[in-house]
């Protein structure tokens, strides 16, 4: 595997780092305090080309490789998780399914605005009573006279209720298949369709500047051609999307770990206690050494999963491993980072407090740690008889 960065990848990493440090870092604390999504910063990220990184150029995307995309998410997450979340969710969950499974007409209709970041798109899988067990969705859609009628609700949907959201991809039960199992299909539901309402969820512990929404469907009618891809393929599409999405979440863990570590190392070197720097007590130095090691290992694992994907090899197991490992790395590093900051680490004025909060999401979103272990265990054959 070759994970050496091309000159362009090095440049884009630097550009995103400069942008994140220059524009996101100064805004983060206030946005977090006010629990506010920033349309302005989101559209700035769009202008820089961060919103349609892997989508084909003919629809306004950049057609870039997965590693380039992950570098962007990593660098944003190094400074502010919420903005990394906006970008990661939009690219892999918003743009991804339409670009991969959409019809020509759907791609032409939605992708140019989505890839430019003028508009956002949500991915509605989770329901109030079905998260990890998404196969048990209850939102239904029935087809009659060329129209789908949707009823039900979704919850925790990223980017789905901002003023620039154009709509969401929604997984619905569209019948039962021959073997009596639920038939799942995905529908594209534009904002403003009668009966479709969204509500931003408030009082989140983390990702406070990212938009998270509830979606309600009350006899919502969309034309038949709003079906994404093939009827009955919805669950497969969602799972495939999540395989890619996990790499984005993993990159958030890696970037977040790096950000927390950078802050911790700088602080521990400058803070004095008992006449020496806090970093120079061996117990602390070892903690920092462990953080550095974990981050290197996390990066190697994530970039390998990414290389497998770009080389066209199966990557589901490695993506699950990378997501799990990066999430745990960020949690560990953020914990050490707060510890090394002492009391100041408990104050929101210090970014490590935010990293500590934000780390938790990565163990839950896009498949919990337990679900990642299920994916890995299944792939290594634990559930098959010898």
């Amino acid at each position: 595997m070759d994970c050496a960065l091309t000159p362009e990848q090095q440049q884009l990493r630097q550009m995103v780092r400069d942008f994140a440090e220059g524009e996101l870092a100064p805004a983060a604390e206030a946005l977090e305090r006010e629990e506010r999504f920033s349309t302005e910063l989101t559209q700035k990220m769009g202008e820089l080309g961060l919103m349609g990184v892997m989508a084909p150029q003919q629809y306004g995307g950049l057609g870039l490789d997965t590693l380039s995309y992950l570098l962007i998410v990593e660098e944003l997450a190094r400074v502010h998780a919420s903005h990394a979340a906006t970008v990661a969710a939009h690219n892999t969950l918003g743009v991804g399914p339409i670009a991969r499974f959409g019809s020509e007409a759907q791609k032409e209709c939605y992708l140019p605005d989505l890839c430019s970041g003028r508009r956002l798109w949500g991915f509605g899988l989770t329901e109030p009573d079905a998260g990890s067990d998404a196969g048990n969705s209850r939102t239904t859609a029935s087809l009659r006279d060329g129209q789908w009628t949707i009823n039900g609700a979704k919850i925790f949907i990223t980017n789905a209720a901002t003023t620039i959201t154009a709509g969401s991809t929604v997984q619905c039960v569209t019948g039962t298949d021959a073997s009596g199992r639920k038939e799942m299909s995905c529908l594209l539901v534009p904002q403003g369709t009668p009966g479709f309402t969204t509500r931003t969820m408030k009082r989140k512990m983390l990702w406070r500047a990212s938009n998270t929404a509830e979606l309600f469907f009350d006899n919502v009618r969309v034309p038949e051609d709003h079906l994404l891809g093939t009827r009955g393929m919805g669950y497969k599409y969602m799972l495939q999307t999540l395989d890619s999405g996990r790499l984005g979440i993993a990159a958030m863990g890696l970037g977040g770990a790096q950000g927390a570590y950078d802050a911790a190392l700088a602080y521990a070197k400058s803070r004095k206690a008992f006449g020496q720097s806090v970093a120079s007590f061996q117990g602390n130095a070892f903690k920092l050494a462990d953080c550095a090691m974990q981050i290197e290992a996390a990066r190697a694992l994530l970039y390998k999963a990414c290389w497998l994907k770009d080389a066209g090899h199966p990557f589901g197991k490695e993506a699950a491993m990378a997501k799990l490992f990066c999430a745990q790395t960020m949690k560990l590093v953020a914990d050490h980072a707060v510890q090394l900051h002492g009391g100041y680490g408990c104050m929101e004025e210090y970014p490590v407090a935010r990293f500590y909060r934000d780390a938790k999401l990565l163990e839950i979103g896009e498949g919990t740690n337990e679900v990642q272990r299920l994916v890995i265990a299944r792939q290594i054959g634990c559930f098959e008889s010898a």
Partner: protein, 256 residues
């Protein structure tokens, strides 16, 4: 019209400078190289005129192979092509200015922007030397620019002492030194970075450009500033402390 921009690759200002053993250079191992911050304003100034003047923007850098990174950054921001001038041996400001002037003249540029100074050696000479060699006017420390209505010249504002603003009218050709506050440099966009790959980046040799001109100044030695001396503590009753302080500020430091 063609607009030239001069950029220099310098160590990031946060870099901790370590000298080489012989004191003639700095250890480059841990240096993070960036575009001289003032040059970013120059690139931005040129790019803002690219459309209105239908101009081709050519970016020049005299520097080692790694300076290509800085040129690519300028291309990613939107410059049209880049020229790196390679010097076999270190050049002073005089030779650097001469080499750049010859390259600019050959390129057909009629307006040249550069940063008011480079933050590594802070010499602030190259723009003036370029202008002198070319016999062009130069205005430096520009903090506002307006192109004339007929696109036949440019109005430049520069701060002078006492809060006064000097307003200078220039025709073309001209050289302009840019200061912080002139504009807000753009970030290179991702599409910009990808397009930059396709843009021409050529190399020239300083000896071909310089003819017989050679440096006037040869660098002998760098030295780091001395460590800050320990502070002085004044003790005693308030009257006595005040007396000592005044004494010290007046007689030794000579600030009051």
């Amino acid at each position: 019209m063609k607009i030239g921009v001069l950029v220099k690759q310098v160590p990031d200002t946060a870099t901790k400078i370590v000298l080489t053993a012989n004191g003639r250079g700095i250890e480059e191992g841990n240096v993070k190289w960036v575009m001289n911050p003032y040059d970013e304003y120059a690139v931005e100034a040129a790019l803002r005129l690219q459309g209105p003047l239908s101009a081709e923007v050519v970016v020049f850098s005299l520097g080692p192979a790694r300076a290509v990174e800085t040129l690519r950054m300028a291309l990613a921001m939107g410059c049209d092509r880049a020229v790196r001038i390679h010097a076999e041996t270190p050049l002073d400001a005089f030779a650097t200015g001469n080499a750049l002037a010859v390259a600019i003249a050959a390129s057909g540029c009629e307006l040249v922007f550069g940063g008011k100074q480079a933050v590594d050696d802070d010499a602030g000479q190259v723009l003036q030397i370029v202008a002198e060699v070319l016999h062009w006017p130069v205005v430096s420390v520009a903090n506002q620019l307006h192109v004339h209505a007929g696109n036949d010249g440019i109005t430049v504002h520069r701060p002078a002492a006492g809060g006064v603003t000097e307003v200078v009218e220039l025709g073309f050709p001209a050289v302009i030194g840019c200061d912080k506050g002139l504009n807000t440099p753009r970030y290179p966009s991702l599409p910009g970075i990808m397009k930059a790959k396709q843009k021409p980046l050529t190399e020239q040799q300083s000896r071909d450009l310089l003819g017989g001109v050679s440096p006037h100044v040869v660098l002998q030695q760098f030295s780091l500033p001395p460590d800050r001396p320990a502070g002085r503590k004044i003790t005693g009753d308030p009257e006595n402390v005040a007396q000592q302080l005044v004494d010290w500020l007046h007689n030794e430091i000579k600030v009051i």
